[in-house]
Amino acid sequence: MTDTPVLSVRNLVVEIPTRHGVLRPVDNVSYDIRAGEILGVVGESGAGKSMTGNAVVGLLDRPARITSGEILLSGQPIHTLKGEALRRLRGKKMGMIFQDPLTSLNPLLTVGDQLTETILEHLGVSQQQARERAVAALEEVGIPAARSRIDSYPHEFSGGMRQRVVIALALCAEPDLIIADEPTTALDVSVQAQIVALLKRLCRERGVAVMLVTHDMGVIAEAADRVAVMYAGRLAELGPVREVLTEARHPYTSGLMASTPLASQGHERLRQIPGAMPRLGNLPDGCAFHPRCEFAQDRCRQNPGPTLDTCDGRAACWFPLGADRKQEVGA
């Protein structure tokens, strides 16, 4: 049991048929998340990170659909589930935290109603017990005076408090997996620090597996155990957070790190990655990153492009940056 990852995504492909051909916002993505582990998923907008999360919880908007690959939750395939079966699983086994806490709460129901509804639905307890659990959930996420605030409406809470309510909602049915999609992007730094600390504590104390989708490398460095870097729908690099961030093997990861201003640098110019991420309808042949890559060679332009499986399992790159290459980059 302990060996089975909580979430296992295998060769997932999500496709969107359009008039101009089929787009692949998620292309052959595989990763595992174990209990008590935080997997950070980073990438720029349009890299497919949210789409991966939505595919896992079965929230893909039509016409986007999973065309191949599988998603296993504690060893059980869930990508084939539909309707009622999927609804039972969501909330009970998987919790979701979205970016904007205001739009993910119902403004017409009190916070307590929303929590007890979820608890009653999934845990089969009495109304009274459900309310007690709701209070406990609010206390756990650090809402002061939870018992008196449980009958408040979402608009009566501040942004950070609302996000705590959303986290309480995701946690109240005691799921094994939490998918947090940009949970701190709409929040101020001081509140962001509180929410990140909360996620880490819950992950450690309750052994929940967390998929943390964000574009903020700083948040990843502080919170994640492992990190997956996505580019144009594909995994560019996957590995332990410290190794990936300090010794990036994929030129994209390395470029991403270098273009983030660091407190230790002065006014020096930032290293920039030329160009922008290609549109999904217009992906280059071979490695999707090669037009922006300073190390691109002929092989990078040829199909099939590199994947984690065909390369070293860490970076999807034919010519990963190694110890000697790193010197070259630094020079």
């Binding site: 730094v189 001081s190 490398m217 700083g218 983030t260 660091l262 290293r271």
Partner: protein, 321 residues
């Protein structure tokens, strides 16, 4: 070097009361939100002055007052010695106005989708009846786009390219000062680096002065010469960049620095800051930060701290030394 912009005891109060009939029926008092409270600072020519703070700290309001989009309630902003809010000599006002331009946060909302890029960029000059021939093409090349792009519409560009168009438009009237309100917050990191580098290059080439408004400490550290930290509409600390980052004196500045996620802090366990920014309609008495401050003493809740000069830093805290 002389001060190009002088902000003197600036205060801006917004009336956020309910409509008067509701107030009469429900017997509610007027609600006044103090967005900016007694802020003073100076910006020197060809420097980058950054304002940082969390949401509700009044940083965007100050930016808008400086360009003249919002009038101050009290205090004054002098640009090149001219107070735009009270100056009556139209010629002087005209001359100074042309010297200030603004770049906004959202490059998707700040370009008219029905206008061609050429018209968008030339507008600040065309509005005054100036000669716009070839202007858009020249500016597009200056900001790293192609002259051919002048015939396109904004939707044909990515976010980073649109922000370049906004910069080109801001440069059209040949300004000395550009107020940048979160210019890269809507952009991805790799594109953000391109835009920040462009802004640094333009500053050197054209001798520009920036008022740079941001919530992102790493970006501010990269760009600014001098930094002002705002909390609930008040300037709590101001110092040259290195002084501020090496030796923050105000407890709020320290809290901000500790809370900011760092790329080299793997699995860092920090004691997260307590509480949130209080309501600006009913700010705490005395020092606005005292309910969250780890060092607060009794005096802090009574007496609002004055700005004090300590070395190169100006700080508003009773206990700073």
């Amino acid at each position: 070097m002389s001060a190009l912009i002088k902000v003197d005891h600036l205060t801006r109060i917004f009336d956020v009361s309910k409509p008067w009939l509701n107030r009469v029926i429900e017997r509610l008092p007027k609600a006044l939100l103090t967005a900016v409270s007694d802020v003073s600072f100076e910006i020197e020519e060809n420097s980058v002055y950054a304002l940082v703070g969390e949401s509700g700290s009044g940083k965007s309001t100050i930016g808008k007052i400086v360009v003249g989009l919002v009038p101050p309630s009290k205090g004054a902003v002098e640009v090149e010695g001219v107070d735009l809010a009270t100056e009556t000599d139209a010629a002087k006002v005209e001359a100074v106005r042309a010297d200030i331009q603004m770049i906004f946060q959202d490059p998707y909302a700040s370009l008219n989708p029905r206008w061609r890029v050429r018209d968008i960029i030339a507008e600040p000059v065309a509005a005054k009846g100036g000669d716009t021939k070839g202007l858009a093409e020249r500016l597009l090349e200056q900001v790293g786009l192609s002259a051919k792009d002048a015939d396109k519409y904004p939707h044909e560009f990515s976010g980073g390219q649109r922000q370049r168009i906004c910069i080109a438009r801001a440069l059209a009237s040949g300004p000395k000062i550009i107020v940048c309100d979160e210019p890269t917050s809507a952009l991805d990191v790799s594109v953000q680096a391109q835009v920040l580098n462009l802004m640094s290059d333009l500053r050197e080439e054209l001798g520009l002065t920036y008022l740079f408004i941001s919530h992102d400490l790493t970006v501010v550290h990269h760009m600014a010469d001098k930094i002002g930290v705002l909390y609930l509409g008040r300037l709590v600390e101001e110092a040259p960049r290195d002084t501020l980052f090496d030796d923050p004196k105000h407890p709020y500045t320290r809290m901000l620095f500790d809370a900011a996620p760092r790329m080299d802090a793997f699995g860092r366990e920090v004691e997260p800051p307590k509480g949130e920014i209080p309501d600006a309609i009913n700010p705490p008495t005395g020092c606005a930060f005292h309910p969250r401050c780890p060092l607060a003493v009794e005096r802090c809740s009574r007496e609002r701290p004055e700005m004090r000069q300590i070395g190169q830093t100006r700080v508003a805290c009773h206990l700073a030394e």
